[in-house]
Each structure stands twice: as structure tokens, then as C-alpha cells.
């Protein structure tokens, strides 16, 4: 369990003061995949660096598995860090070491015997699906492969927590999906708590159970991914969930606009709009749609335009209510 209490971080430079984090309170349960999302400069990277004390918080506490990290000496903290490992956007492998020796590196730091470290590294190469790359150097690998080696390296010391700092941001969508699969698999198989820092909503959608949305150094919204995805309350959450729906709504003429929100609805298999046309005789114009399927359930929103008379709107709303989707007039 990770508990972050009243955490603040202020950077002071000669010419200005930046409050990177303002009174953050979060708790992450054991074994969950927790997302921290926000635009660039929202403070998410600073937050994740406070979790392993790469950045010392200005005030507040970080408690990981019952240990208050702020109270530790340098030596104790270094020891604790082998249980809270991290992967990065830039992979950050040692370029002059081959893959096997990269994975051995944290074990060397921990003082594990060479033969034992090598054996463990070979097992990890197997887990990340690159058993034949032991003797290769990072420069000979693709980005996705380098991140796999970085993940193997992060797992070497059998951590309790894995911090992912924009770990898929430098990868193409396909490779991103594969790396996320691997992270999910590791989380399930090894029970490691994972914290995912990202600016991509798609990453949060595909692997996180809960998410905190950060804006300007604060947590704007926090909760289950499915809830935030269907009912974003804060402005920044709305912007992340529906990147461009606001503009689309103004394009309609004299139609009545209705926003439909799919909240884990199993309607993905049934054509909702077509059924409305068939059953109710209401023809809808789809103005905007952004829907995604997350583990079989449909999430997202859609804006439809229907003829603007009271009776039709009433019937449409009643139909949608029956279909168990959230609908609201715009």
C-alpha cells in the first residue's frame, strides 16, 4: 500500500518559485494498477519521483508498505529503493553493457552473487520474451525490445512497486499495446503494484483500475477509471476524455443535440442508433462519436442530432433511458 499525505513540492530558483505539487493526497492499494494522468507540466513526473524520493518533498509524507520514506537515512533509502523500481520513457539502459548485464545491474548494486544474478537475469529475459537477446547490446534492439529489457531490469530485485514514467510514450501504438500487455501480465502474475504515469488516456483506459487526474500540481479528480471516463467532472478530465467534443456540438443547425454516454454498456454488440430508428422511427444524425471498448465493455460518448420537436425528444430520451445509457440534452 502506498499512501501519499499532504505532499507538496516547491522548486525555488533565484528568479522564481514553482509549486510543482500542491497538497496531494492519494492512496494506492496493493496489487492494483493505478494511473496518474495529466497534461505536460501538471506535476505527474515530480509526483512519481517523490514516491521513490528521487525528489525530496518540500512537505508531506510518502508511506510505502508501512515505511515512511522521508524518515530514512540515505543508506536505508537506497535499500528501500530496490523494492520500488522504475521504468522510463527513454528506457535508460546502460549502452555499454549487454542485455544480460543490464538486468544484472540492480542485482550487482544489491550485492547478489554473480552466478545467482546471471541465473535470475536469464529467467527475466524469458519472462519479458527476449531469451535470445542476452548477448545483444541495447543499440541493437528496437524501442519496444529495449523497454522489455528495462522492465526485466526493474523486476530483477523482486520489487513490490513498479513505477512507469511515460513508459510507452516513445513507442508506436502497436508496441505500446504489447508493453501494456506485459505490464498487466506482470501485475497479475507477480502481484506487483503498478503506478502508471502518462499523458495518454488510452494507456489509462487499457490497464488502470483507478486513476488520478492531475492539473497544475493538484489532483483534479480521482476514482475508478470507468466512472471518470463516463462522468468526467473537472474541466481537465473532460478535456482528456473528450478531446474535441466541445467544438463539434456547435456545428449542428436546428437539430436537437443529445449526448449519449456509454458507461461499460454491453450495447457494443447491438446497434443502438439503428434500433432507435427502427423501433421509434427517430432518425438520428451522428455529430460526434468517441467510443472505446475496454475489456468487452463500451465506454465513451456520442453526440447525436434528432428533429427538434418536444415529442420526438421526449420519446428519444425515454428510449435511451431504457437502453441503460446516460443521455442528456445539450
Amino acid at each position: 500500500m502506498i499512501e501519499i499525505k499532504n505532499l507538496s513540492k516547491t522548486f525555488v530558483t533565484p528568479d522564481n518559485t514553482v509549486e510543482a505539487l500542491k497538497n496531494i493526497n492519494l492512496s494506492v492499494n496493493d496489487g492494483e494498477i493505478y494511473g496518474i494522468i495529466g497534461m505536460s507540466g501538471a506535476g505527474k513526473s515530480t509526483l512519481v519521483r517523490c514516491i521513490n524520493m528521487l525528489e525530496k518533498p518540500t512537505s508531506g509524507t510518502v508511506i510505502v508498505n508501512g515505511v515512511d520514506l522521508g524518515s530514512l537515512s540515505d543508506r536505508e533509502l537506497r535499500k528501500e529503493r530496490s523494492k520500488i523500481t522504475m521504468i522510463f520513457q527513454g528506457f535508460n539502459l546502460l549502452m555499454q553493457r549487454n542485455c544480460l548485464k543490464n538486468i544484472c545491474f540492480p542485482l550487482e548494486i544489491a550485492g547478489v552473487k554473480k552466478a545467482e544474478a546471471k541465473k535470475r537475469a536469464e529467467e527475466l529475459l524469458e519472462i519479458v520474451g527476449l531469451p535470445d537477446k542476452a548477448k545483444n547490446y541495447p543499440a541493437q534492439l528496437s524501442g519496444g525490445q529495449q523497454q522489455r529489457i528495462a522492465i526485466a531490469r526493474a523486476l530483477a530485485t523482486e520489487p513490490k512497486v513498479l513505477l512507469c514514467d511515460e513508459a510507452t510514450s516513445a513507442l508506436d501504438p502497436n508496441t505500446t499495446a504489447q508493453i501494456l500487455d506485459l505490464i498487466r501480465d506482470i501485475n497479475k502474475r507477480l502481484g506487483i503494484t503498478v503506478i502508471v504515469i502518462t499523458h495518454q488516456m488510452s494507456v489509462v483506459e487499457s490497464i488502470c483500475e483507478r486513476v488520478a487526474i492531475m492539473d497544475n500540481g493538484e489532483v483534479a479528480e480521482e476514482g475508478k477509471v470507468s466512472e471518470i471516463f463516463s462522468h468526467p467532472k473537472s474541466l481537465v478530465a473532460k478535456r482528456l476524455v473528450f478531446p474535441d467534443s466541445a467544438e463539434t456540438a456547435e456545428l449542428a443547425g436546428d437539430e436537437k443535440l443529445i449526448r449519449i454516454i456509454f458507461n461499460g454498456h454491453n450495447s457494443s454488440a447491438r446497434p443502438l442508433i439503428a434500433e432507435m430508428a427502427l423501433k421509434e422511427g427517430i432518425t438520428a444524425n451522428i455529430c460526434y462519436a468517441s467510443t472505446k471498448t475496454i475489456s468487452g465493455d463500451l465506454y465513451g460518448n456520442m453526440i447525436i442530432g434528432i428533429p427538434n420537436d418536444e415529442e420526438t425528444v421526449k420519446r428519444a430520451m425515454a428510449f435511451l433511458k431504457e437502453e441503460n445509457v446516460t443521455a442528456e440534452e445539450v
Binding site: 521513490n52 528521487l54 533509502l77 537506497r78 535499500k79 528501500e80 529503493r81 530496490s82 523500481t85 522504475m86 522510463f88 527513454g90 535508460n92 546502460l94 549502452m95 555499454q96 553493457r97 549487454n98 545491474f105 540492480p106 550487482e108 548494486i109 544489491a110 547490446y137 541495447p138 543499440a139 541493437q140 530485485t157 513505477l163
Partner: protein
């Protein structure tokens, strides 16, 4: 002003060939071992100092108080700005203390080291600064101590650059050894100065210089080759 024809007159050539046979092998050996020893000692002093300049700086992995860093910086700059010829004379007392004499081949190693180690420290500093700060942060996130970060991450990661830069230092030290001929240091420099400058035997000087040039070429080629050979950042 000498005339080209005089330099290559038959007596001059035969005399020069005699010297080439009798004196130059020993001189070349002296130049070689003085350069090698001075380079080694400069590295022993310069490497830790260069590491300290990086790790001790603000934002380094083990920051030291700013005044200490400032003093180090000034001392290095002072040592590097004194012309070698003058430095040799200025360090006579120290040379006598360490080597027992100020004249001779072995004593000439002392001023060479004093002139070269601040240079080596600066080169080490610039090589270490090439290491990606994110890689250092990664090592910190794994719980690596400053000592392990220096020995397992920073130095190995910039080894190709360290070798290239150290090659530059060795060739510079080699050219300094020629100057130490003036205060009685042995080697090719002494031959070139004694015969070429004091006794107008220019052909001997030319031979000595040719051998110096060859030595620099060999050192540089070997250094470049080694730096390339150990660098694993290429794809193949």
C-alpha cells in the same frame, strides 16, 4: 640562416646517420618511458579529480560545498595557464624533493605530471558530463550509491570518450617531453635541441622530429582504434 644544400651535404648525412644509430634509439626509449610514466601518474591524479569536479558540482550525485568546488576550479585553471617551460622551473623545489635532483630524465617526469594532471582532470570532467543524466537517475532509482554510480555507470558508460580524451592527453605529454630537454630531461627533445639548436646539425633535428611525429601517429591511431572498438553504441 641555413641553406638546404648544407643540411644534406654528404658529411652532414653520414654524421646524422651515425647519431641516428648511436643516440636516437636510447633517446626514443627515454621519450617513450617518460611519456608513459607521466601519463600514468597524470591519470592517477587527474581521474579522481575529474570525477570530483562532476560529482561534487551543484546537481551532481554528491554535491560538495560551492566554495570547495570554486577553489578546485581556480587551482586547475592556474596550473593550466602557466606555460610549461616556466612551470618546469617553478616546480624545481618540488622536483628536488621528489626526485632528488632537478636535472635528468626521471626528474623531468615531475613537472610533466604537474602540468598534465589538471588537463587530464578537465578532459575526464568533459567525458563524464557526456553521460546521460537520466541514466544516472535510473541508477539512483535502483538504490545505487554514489561510488557505484561512478564506478559502474559513469566511467564505463563514457569509456570510449575517456579513451579518446586520454589519447589527446598522452600526445600532449609527449610534446611536453621535448621541452623538458631544455632542463636536462632526456629523450628526442634533447637530441633535437642539442644538435639542431646548439650545434646547427639540422638533419639530426629533422630525424628526431620525424620520430616524434611517428610516435604521435601511432599513439593517436591506437587510441582512436581502441575507443571505436569498445564502443557498443553502434548497431553492429
Amino acid at each position: 640562416m641555413y641553406i638546404i644544400a648544407d643540411i644534406f651535404s654528404s658529411e652532414a648525412v653520414s654524421e646524422a646517420l651515425d647519431i641516428l644509430k648511436n643516440d636516437i634509439p636510447k633517446a626514443a626509449w627515454e621519450t617513450f618511458y617518460v611519456t608513459a610514466l607521466a601519463s600514468l601518474f597524470s591519470l592517477i591524479l587527474g581521474l579522481p579529480l575529474g570525477v570530483l569536479l562532476v560529482t561534487g558540482s551543484k546537481g551532481g550525485i554528491r554535491p560538495l560545498p560551492a566554495p570547495i568546488m570554486r577553489i578546485l576550479d581556480v587551482i586547475i585553471n592556474i596550473l593550466r595557464s602557466i606555460p610549461f617551460l616556466i612551470l618546469m622551473i617553478m616546480v624545481f623545489p618540488l622536483t628536488r624533493l621528489i626526485a632528488g635532483s632537478v636535472v635528468g630524465t626521471v626528474p623531468s617526469i615531475v613537472p610533466l605530471v604537474i602540468a598534465a594532471f589538471p588537463f587530464v582532470a578537465r578532459l575526464v570532467e568533459s567525458s563524464l558530463r557526456e553521460v546521460d543524466p537520466e541514466i544516472i537517475e535510473t541508477a539512483q532509482s535502483m538504490g545505487a550509491s554514489p561510488w557505484k554510480i561512478v564506478t559502474r555507470v559513469m566511467i564505463p558508460e563514457c569509456m570510449p570518450s575517456l579513451i579518446s580524451n586520454f589519447t589527446i592527453a598522452v600526445t600532449t605529454i609527449l610534446s611536453y617531453t621535448a621541452m623538458s630537454g631544455i632542463i636536462g630531461g632526456g629523450g628526442l627533445g634533447k637530441i633535437a635541441i642539442n644538435y639542431g639548436y646548439y650545434r646547427y646539425k639540422h638533419l639530426v633535428m629533422i630525424f628526431a622530429v620525424i620520430i616524434l611525429v611517428l610516435m604521435v601517429q601511432i599513439i593517436q591511431t591506437a587510441g582512436t582504434f581502441a575507443a571505436k572498438k569498445i564502443d557498443k553504441r553502434t548497431r553492429h
